[in-house]
């Protein structure tokens, strides 16, 4: 599926300034950005360029100092903490560099957890949906294993399945291959490409050069500013 012209993400004049011992530090400065539905956008840049801050603002984990962040028609920057979690649970799926699976839940239970928190899907259907997602990501046979028993690649696949649990409009991935070997990284990137092909919008922060070739758009950040967007 190809990107539509309908904007899923709109950032207007977004800045994020952190207080610091040596004075305020500007992680993002006056960023304007639009990402359409169905796009596979990768965000690249040097360490400290503002990539993860950008992802934090898109997921509502962080808030802009100034500017507007609109995701799927929701002005994220205006949501209260109480409103933020359920919105994020349903609208956004997040994949972390270190997988962040809960170690005391099995792979399937990890995938079921967002459905449980957001009360999506009937309780009787949640396990079968979790198993279907794990099947789609090629780790259905690991469903009842605990994360520490899985390899890094398997854990990341489970984490992606968890991110997709509530069928979010947007999948955000922060260095999803940063903790994997090159072969596994390649497989994960292909997996993202497959998801995009099925209509999923993906924004991924990465250092992987190969990701640029798979993505529909590359956003380059430098010192908190968008220096390239093509």
């Amino acid at each position: 599926m190809h990107p539509t012209s309908e904007a899923l993400i709109t950032l207007k004049n977004v800045s994020r300034i952190f207080p610091g011992a040596a004075g305020p530090f500007s992680a993002l400065s006056d960023v304007n950005l639009t990402i359409d539905r169905g796009e596979f956008a990768v965000v690249v840049g040097q360490s400290g360029s503002g990539k993860s801050t950008l992802l934090g603002l898109l997921s509502g984990i962080d808030r802009p100092s100034t500017g507007e962040v609109v995701v799927g028609g929701t002005a994220v920057h205006t949501l209260s903490e109480r409103e933020m979690s359920p919105w994020r649970g349903k609208a956004v799926g997040i994949v972390f560099q270190f997988f962040q699976l809960l170690p005391t839940l099995t792979a399937a239970e990890n995938v079921m957890l967002p459905m449980d928190f957001c009360d999506t899907w009937k309780s009787g259907e949640r396990r079968s949906r979790a198993l279907a997602l794990l099947e789609r990501l090629g780790v259905a046979d690991q469903a009842d294993k605990f994360p520490p028993k899985l390899s890094g690649g398997q854990q990341q696949r489970v984490a992606i399945a968890r991110a997709l649990a509530n069928a979010p409009a947007l999948l955000l991935a922060d260095e999803p291959t940063g903790n994997l070997d090159s072969k596994t990284s390649e497989a994960i990137l292909v997996l993202f490409q497959d998801l995009v092909r099925d209509g999923q919008t993906v924004v991924m922060v990465t250092h992987e050069q190969s990701a640029r070739h798979l993505a529909s758009r590359t956003i380059t950040l430098c010192d908190g500013r968008v220096v390239a967007n093509d």
């Binding site: 984990i61 359920p86 962040q100 809960l102 839940l105 239970e109 957890l113 449980d116 928190f117 509530n166």
Partner: protein
């Protein structure tokens, strides 16, 4: 199907079994401490109120001459009176282990039909048959009584009679026999006659129609009865009207349990602090997971419900352990306290409301304690939670710690680490220090009790044994006879009588013993609170003790007082107030008492022995008796003060023992707190420990560092406990003095042996409590610690 979030919580609990166990134990210990006191209080309240009222206690007792059925019937018909009955009380002696002990025998025409002050059979036969004796349960030990075996009993000059003990019964209205050093027994009038005592009844007990009447109203009715008795030509010796519906020791009981209740609540609070520490520790390890859960859609409320639900479940589990333990402990302590009051808790259950309170507190305490850390944890921003690297941002401790010199760097690090989280450290310190203060305070109390008992039996009551005569003799004859017995260092003959104060409204107060002693007595030296002691020039001077002053408004220092003795009024002046024990008592010179009674003879002797050894004194007591009887004296009873001292000391020290048990519970809570604090400290500094290992720290150094940090906290708590124990000792001593016996707070600063013992305890507790966290710290590998997310 169990929800994944519930599964997570349950598996977390299982995964951190040791920590979970600590939380459960912490709550359980708090509930056991507070619950045991609540159970004791509620059970005793039920027993003393229901049990005492169930005996249908006498509203008033009138001591008069022989009471017959006609008199009883006339009194019964008086307005306001529900019931009357008659008893006789006879003083004699009972042979126990070769020594005569004072015996008080109660007789009634029909014990089985007793309706006032109902007696509760404990074992054996009831009521007593002719020629047999039923012993009151609080005297069994003192009388060495065994059902089925005989006791030699003597009244006056009559031939001693061997009476078979056929049963044991309880009279809840009597002060315990072991405390009063009296053998209480129940016999029939026929047995009294066989013992040579008058068989007629002389105590008229009555109950009023309206049990809700105030003391004054009851007293008026009792005095109507007294007037009727006097109109019948009989002489009334005294009228006793106890506080309606209140057991005589109710105020002391409430005071005792209030103090112990305060310790129970303290234990509960300390366990609450511990739960806060433990839940904070639990959440500290979950910060990142909380961040992840929020990132995938969990709301703060859902997370709070997860962890507070867990706290509730842990509280309920703790209750499963604590409630039965608290019930057992409460029953045991209530049983012990009831014995002091001559009650029996058998057949009474702990009230349901008390158990419900414990269940409610046990379930909700962890929820309340966890609320703050849980809400704080649930509110933590996702970005911050995901950035959690396990390194605490806490400060580096007080500024003074930066200037500490002369210690190794690792030790300095341990000292600084101990002060990094001051609030947490403060809670742990407070828990341990409070336990220490109670322990040292209880040691001080024990020491003060021993000193006070020693003071009482050495400085105040300076005689070693006393002899009571069945008849009266001249002071000179008694003193000559006893003084001639080898081993006697000094002797004084005393007299005594019961007196009652006539109040302004013309009604008599409760009667009390008036002791007649030589003005320059060498046998007693009561501490004078106000006024002065007796002099030989006194003509109507009266010294009252503090208890009499409190119960008798007329007996103020300097007041002119009318006392009724043997039915005759006489005027007295209160010249001094002394401290002389819990019972109301007054003293005058023996000559003044003799004038008041019209009898110059003495009926008792106080003796100092040349040898302090109790065995030798017991031997002297036997020789004395033989010598006196050989000279024609009728000895009624004899009492060794060493034995009295031992019995009193044993029972008083039980209270200090209970406080020491409470302090042990607190040190367990404190130890658990320390273990949790150190576990948390290690967890928070995982990366720091990794760094230390990366720069060359060995296992031993890490182990020492954690243990040293624990020791810093423990030793600080020990140092804090010492000054805290001083006010604790004062509070305990004063409370004890108000309840049990005036205690001279002789020991304020703990003895060095006690302080060293407590130091040993805290060091041991610290080493044990820190063993697991220290071991965990050594298990942290450099690679894992530096990669710690």
């Amino acid at each position: 199907m169990i929800r994944p979030r519930v599964r997570k919580v349950l598996r977390d609990v299982w995964h951190h079994k040791a920590r979970t166990l600590l939380v459960v134990l912490a709550i359980a210990i708090g509930i056991v401490g507070a619950g045991a006191v609540l159970n004791t209080w509620s059970l005793l309240r039920r027993v003393t109120r229901e049990g005492y009222l169930a005996t249908n206690p006498a509203s008033a007792t009138i001591r008069t001459d022989s009471i017959d059925a006609a008199l009883l019937e006339r009194v019964r018909r008086l307005p306001g009176i529900r019931d009357v009955q008659a008893r006789r009380t006879v003083y004699g002696r009972a042979m126990v282990g070769g020594t005569w002990r004072t015996a008080v025998l109660f007789a009634a025409d029909d014990f089985a039909g007793t309706t006032i002050g109902a007696l509760q059979p404990v074992s054996g036969a009831w009521p007593p048959a002719d020629g047999s004796l039923v012993v009151e349960t609080s005297s069994v030990e003192y009388a060495a009584a065994v059902v089925g075996e005989p006791i030699l009993v003597q009244v006056g000059e009559a031939e001693p009679q061997s009476l078979e003990v056929t049963g044991i019964t309880r009279d809840a209205g009597l002060a315990p026999g072991w405390m009063e050093h009296v053998v209480y027994g129940f016999v029939t009038p026929a047995t009294l006659a066989r013992l040579g005592a008058p068989a007629s009844l002389d105590l008229l007990q009555l109950t009023v129609e309206d049990r809700t009447l105030e003391w004054e109203a009851v007293r008026r009715i009792a005095y109507d009865a007294k007037a009727l008795v006097e109109r019948s030509g009989r002489r009334v010796q005294n009228v006793d009207v106890p506080e309606p519906g209140e057991h005589i020791h109710a105020a002391q009981l409430n005071s005792l349990l209030f103090t112990q209740g305060a310790f129970g609540v303290l234990a509960l609070l300390l366990s609450g602090f511990l739960v806060i520490n433990l839940v904070t520790a639990m959440l500290a390890g979950q910060v990142r997971e909380i961040g992840v859960m929020k990132a995938i859609g969990a709301r703060g409320g859902q997370l709070a419900a997860m962890y507070l639900g867990l706290a509730l479940v842990l509280g309920l589990v703790a209750c499963l352990i604590a409630l039965p333990a608290a019930a057992v402990l409460g029953r045991w302590y209530a049983g012990f306290t009831a014995t002091l009051l001559n009650f029996d808790t058998t057949g009474y259950s702990i009230p349901g409301w008390a158990l419900a309170v414990q269940l409610g507190v046990g379930a909700l305490l962890p929820v309340a304690a966890a609320a703050v850390p849980v809400v704080r944890g649930a509110r933590i921003p996702v970005s911050m939670a995901l950035r959690d690297f396990g390194i605490e941002e806490g400060g580096d401790g007080p500024r003074i710690l930066r200037r500490i010199g002369g210690v190794t760097r690792p030790l300095l690090l341990s000292i600084r680490n101990a002060f990094r989280r001051r609030q947490r450290m403060g809670l742990t310190l407070l828990t341990l220090a409070t336990g220490g203060a109670v322990y040292l305070g209880a040691l001080n109390l024990r020491s003060s009790i021993r000193n006070s008992v020693g003071y009482m039996f050495g400085e105040v009551l300076r005689y070693d044994l006393s002899v009571g005569f069945a008849r009266s003799y001249s002071a000179a004859r008694i003193e000559a006879a006893i003084g001639a017995v080898p081993g006697v260092a000094a002797v004084e003959a005393w007299n005594g009588v019961r007196a009652a104060a006539a109040r302004a409204d013309g009604v008599l107060g409760n009667s009390f013993p008036l002791g007649g002693i030589p003005a320059a007595s060498r046998m007693v030296a009561f501490p004078v609170d106000s006024g002065r002691w007796l002099t030989s020039a006194d003509s109507n001077a009266l010294v009252v003790n503090r208890s009499l002053r409190q119960g008798e408004p007329e007996a103020a220092l300097g007041a002119e007082l009318t006392l009724v003795i043997d039915g005759k009024p006489s005027r007295w002046t209160v010249v001094g107030i002394v401290t002389s024990g819990p019972g109301a008592t007054a003293f005058a010179t023996r000559e003044v008492v003799a004038r008041a009674t019209g009898d110059s003879l003495m009926d008792r002797a106080m003796i100092q022995a040349e040898i302090a050894e109790p065995g030798a004194q017991a031997e002297l007591s036997r020789r004395l008796r033989g010598a006196l009887e050989a000279q024609g004296f009728e000895v009624g009873s004899s009492q060794l003060m060493a034995e009295s001292r031992r019995v009193l000391e044993d029972h008083l020290l039980l209270v200090a023992g209970f406080l020491m048990i409470m302090s042990q519970a607190m040190i367990v809570v404190g130890g658990l707190g320390l273990a949790s604090t150190m576990s948390l400290s290690v967890l928070e500094r995982t990366r720091e420990i990794g760094v230390l290992r990366a720069i060359g720290a060995r296992h031993g150094a890490i182990l020492t560092m954690v243990q040293a940090e624990g020791l810093v906290i423990s030793i600080a708590s020990w140092a804090l406990a010492i000054p805290l124990s001083i006010p604790m000792s004062v509070i305990l001593g004063r409370t004890f003095g108000r309840i049990m016996m005036p205690v001279r707070i002789t020991t304020l600063v703990p003895e060095s042996s006690g302080m060293l013992a407590w130091l040993g305890v805290v060091v041991l507790v610290s080493l044990v409590a820190c063993a697991w966290p220290a071991y965990r710290a050594t298990r942290v590998t450099t690679a894992a610690a530096l990669a710690y997310e």
